[in-house]
Amino acid sequence: MEKSRMAELPPELRYIQYEHALEKKYLPAIRALISKDLSEPYSIYVYRYFLYQWGELCFMALDPKTDTMIGVVVCKLEPHQSHSPPTLRGYIAMLAVSSSYRNHGIATTLVRKAIDAMVERDADEVVLETEETNIPAMKLYERLGFLRSKKLHRYYLNGNSAFRLVLHLKRAQDMVGDENGGEDGLE
């Protein structure tokens, strides 16, 4: 079974960074791919909320021949402060890979590209939630160094709980809190 799947995979996928000019061309496919894994679809505004503000943190995997959407990751990056000193926090909001192309490291490549883009933008940390039963997703992130920081009871509509996963990109003392540097971060 694995072999036949392997055969389907194009020799080299095309990974591209999203930009607003691509909305018409790719947004419908992004929505279609992500909606497959959701019990309830997000409205167009949810996609625009992320893609309009953080398009450069969205990456797509395409079949080079057919231009078919095979995978996508959608993120954001903004200052965060709740119970602790402020950080510039990246958040991986959506990640999807077409089911027949899974287990080939496409999701990992997408996530790495997103994290790389966050690192370039001086992010302090990256967080996300994943369903407790989604072992492949948990493994993917844990192989990138994420730790489970807390468990969230009945987080999803289906009644399943989630784990919050956290990856620090810097030592706590070096975290800046916002894009302009952390001079007045703590007070």
Binding site: E40, Y45, Q53, R143, R148, K150, Y155
Partner: protein
């Protein structure tokens, strides 16, 4: 909201409270017939004008495809936005041929078997609601329930299912049974919902109290419903055209509903007698229902997903939640059992036993349901009177007296009577009151937190740990000031310190609870499966570090308590006095906590060493870290403790050294681990032998012993595992490969949630 988690937002949006106040039939009648009228603007300060032209001209200035985003348009708004004509978002969108509402004939006669079928399905829905699903996807999907609730009835007269002319004739018995049952069901839900709502819980996460603008029979008294249930029972017993078996099944269901309704009406009372027996009776009535479920004939078309379109909700109909009959009855049985057990909390002995009771009760598996947990909260804290009889001060003072300040004049109530502001007793009373006002919340928060779901318990403990740190600092100041009143003689011992040493009783008390809470935070991480295999050595090292710190602290407290007791011994010749009892309790509690901390530290030490060895042998999966390193991961893990002053966070390089023990030989580490399990075993056996008084678990001794014995089993298993590893290491010699495989067991494969003993098996 934390980190703007998408699913959490989606849930909140789903539960958006459009209008859940008192029912206003007007707009909803309009909704069912025609679109609502435009709003009436009566305010004369409001001037309306047509902006179409401005809007069009502004829009024309935009490039094609250009987006405009209001800075206040947040993720929350975007998730809440709907796309009209998308059937998954637009609740009014109909597929071709689909009708808005169901066309159900309520005058249709039902077989008695069908009544059983509907009732049993409703029970499944009721339990699904108790499990945390919304009414809209459970009970409210019943067309009969919908019929009862819309329009909102004000009396039983308005609850007939059949509203055609034929209803002037007598209601068939089958429908009366169903109606009485449904009324009882909804009223039961009303009581449950009111209870949950008035306590601390997490909407959506724990329970959905949202009623979608439906009234759960607010305006129909429960007595009238009970009376109808009784009358229906009587009517049923008089009827002879229903087969005996079916009749009995219907009986048991009506009686069950009346019982359940009677209980939820009194369950929150802290004085009503016989509530425990009522829960037990309800539980024992279940087998009769369970054994007759096979007689029921389902009526699937009397449930519809479409009812949700009539509810005040922003989201389109979601699927009906399916809970199996076995699942529903199991939940209900547990609910009865747990609710009966929760009442034991009223048998109060001492504050320490109360904490043990609540902690063990909440650790039951599965955890007691939300309704039972909110009942317990109410018993504990209702009207800020602890268990309905004690002031917060009483419990707090007792806790302090039975641990750090036995027979102390600081806690003497007579100090409060002194009215002369210069009198030292007046000043002491004032300072103690300052302490109480700061400590009470933090102290009771432990109990309150324990009433939440397991995930929330740990999260909340992480957030509130800093309160204990602050309280300890505040208390140090007060301790110093209070010395003027106590005239405390310090310990002068050059061997320990050049400075005089004082007791610092209040801050000692706070430090103790802070240490306990820190231990719980780390230990619950094991339970909730937060740690990866390569973290376990360090996390168990931290448990032993905290327990060992607690041991030293207990020793310090013991020194001062013994000292003050011996100096006041002449006053307390008679052990029967209150002061004498406090002294005995303080000693006993210190003994218990010492034994328990010894067990914890020795066991944790053993496991930490074992995991260090497994790590060294390459038997634990070590994940790559392309973006971070162990130091950064340590900071993620220890985040709750980063702001804590005492005990200091162990710096990462030091921790690494202490955990990896790189200078130690593997066999020596294993030897030490084996000795530690032996020490832990002795301590746990000691604990298991304590009686309820010595264990400060009065009211929950049975479950306390089970808990200790589970830890003991885990400890024995750990010892066997260590021996297995040692033999394999010895067999491999210096250069050879150790022929072992290690697995980390999941929660169901452990003797104790907090003690993860690796499963080590030989490989060829």
């Amino acid at each position: 909201m934390e980190s703007n988690g998408m699913p959490a937002i989606a849930q909140q949006v789903g539960g958006l409270n459009i209008n859940d106040g008192p029912p206003k039939p007007g707009p909803f009648v309009a909704y069912e017939l025609e679109p609502p009228p435009p709003p009436k603007i009566n305010n004369k300060n409001l001037i309306t004008m047509d902006v179409t032209e401005q809007f069009t001209s502004a829009a024309q200035k935009l490039e094609l495809g250009e987006l405009v985003k209001d800075p206040h348009f947040t993720l929350f708004e975007s998730v809440g936005a709907l796309e009209i004509m998308d059937s998954k978002m637009d609740s009014g969108h109909l597929e071709e041929g689909e009708t808005m509402q169901d066309d159900y004939d309520f005058s249709k006669a039902l077989l008695p078997e069908e009544i059983i079928g509907i009732i049993d399905q409703l029970l499944c829905h009721e339990m699904a609601w108790h499990m945390g699903y919304p009414l809209s996807q459970t009970i409210f999907t019943s067309l009969y329930i919908d019929r009862l609730l819309m329009p909102t009835p004000t009396s039983l007269e308005e609850t007939y299912f059949d509203r055609s002319d034929s209803r002037l004739q007598k209601e068939p018995l089958t429908l009366q049974i169903l109606r009485a049952y449904c009324l009882g069901l909804i009223k039961t839900c009303w009581f449950v919902n009111s209870r949950v709502r008035s306590e601390h819980f997490y909407e959506e996460e724990d329970f959905v109290t949202h009623t979608f603008n439906r009234s759960l029979l607010d305006r129909v008294g429960h007595e009238a419903i009970l009376q109808l249930l009784d009358e229906t029972v009587e009517l049923l017993s008089g009827s002879d055209d229903i087969p005996r078996e079916i009749k009995d099944a219907l009986f048991s269901r009506l009686l069950f509903r009346a019982r359940f309704l009677r209980i939820v009406e009194v369950a929150a009372s802290r004085t009503a007698p016989g509530v425990k027996e009522m829960w037990t009776e309800l539980q024992s009535s279940l087998p009769q229902i369970i054994s007759s479920t096979n007689l029921g004939k389902p009526v699937p078309d009397s449930f519809s997903v479409k009812v949700q379109r009539k509810l005040a909700s922003t989201v389109p109909p979601r699927p009906i939640v399916i809970v199996s009959q076995e699942g529903a009855f199991a939940h209900l049985e547990r609910l009865c059992r747990d609710a009966a057990a929760a009442l034991d909390v009223f048998e109060y002995y001492d504050s320490h036993s109360l904490f043990t009771f609540v902690s063990l009760f909440q650790a039951r598996k599965p955890q007691p349901s939300v309704y039972v947990r909110t009942l317990l909260q109410h018993y504990l804290f209702g009207d800020m009177i602890i268990l309905g009889t004690m002031s917060i001060r009483q419990v707090l003072d007792e806790d302090i007296a039975n641990f750090v300040l036995p027979a102390s004049k600081l806690l003497d109530r007579n100090n409060d009577e002194v009215e002369v502001p210069t009198d030292p007793r007046f000043i002491a009373a004032e300072k103690m009151e300052i302490f109480r006002s700061r400590a009470a919340g933090t102290y009771l928060d432990i109990l309150r937190t324990m009433c939440q779901n397991r995930c929330r318990i740990r999260r909340t403990l992480c957030h509130t740990i800093v309160d204990w740190d602050n309280l300890q600092l505040d208390a140090e100041d007060l301790d110093q000031q209070l010395r003027e009143f106590t005239q405390e003689e310090p310990i002068l011992d050059r061997n320990i310190s050049n400075e005089p040493i004082y007791a610092f009783p209040l801050s000692s008390w706070a430090y103790f609870y802070k240490l306990r809470q820190m231990e719980w935070i780390v230990q619950m991480g094991f339970e909730l499966e937060l740690y990866q295999p390569d973290e376990l050595a360090a996390m168990y090292w931290y448990v032993q570090y905290l327990s060992r710190t607690r041991l030293r602290h207990l020793e310090r407290i013991r020194t001062f308590v013994t000292r003050s007791t011996s100096t006041s011994a002449s006053r307390l010749k008679d052990i029967g006095t209150a002061g004498g009892l406090e002294c005995a309790n303080a000693q006993a509690y210190n003994n218990l906590s010492t034994l328990e901390a010894s067990a914890n530290s020795a066991f944790a030490d053993a496991l930490s060493c074992l995991y260090t060895v497994l790590d060294r042998l390459g038997l634990l999966s070590k994940l790559p870290q392309p973006y971070s390193d162990d130091h950064m991961r340590y900071e993620v893990r220890m985040k709750p403790f980063l702001g804590i002053g005492l005990p200091e966070l162990v710096p990462f390089p030091e921790l690494t050294q202490l955990v990896t023990q790189s200078n130690e030989n593997t066999l020596d580490i294993l030897e030490f681990a084996a000795e530690s399990t032996a020490a832990a075993k002795r301590a746990l056996e000691g604990l298991a032998k304590l009686n309820a008084e010595q264990g400060f678990c009065r009211g929950s001794h049975g479950s306390w012993v089970v808990e200790v014995k589970n830890a003991l089993k885990a400890c024995i298993l750990a010892n066997i595992t260590i021996v297995t590893v040692r033999r394999a290491v010895e067999a491999a010699g210096d250069e050879g490969k150790v022929k072992l495989k290690a697995e980390i067991p999941g929660p169901s494969a452990r003797y104790h949630d907090w003690w993860i003993v690796p499963k080590v098996v030989p490989v060829p």
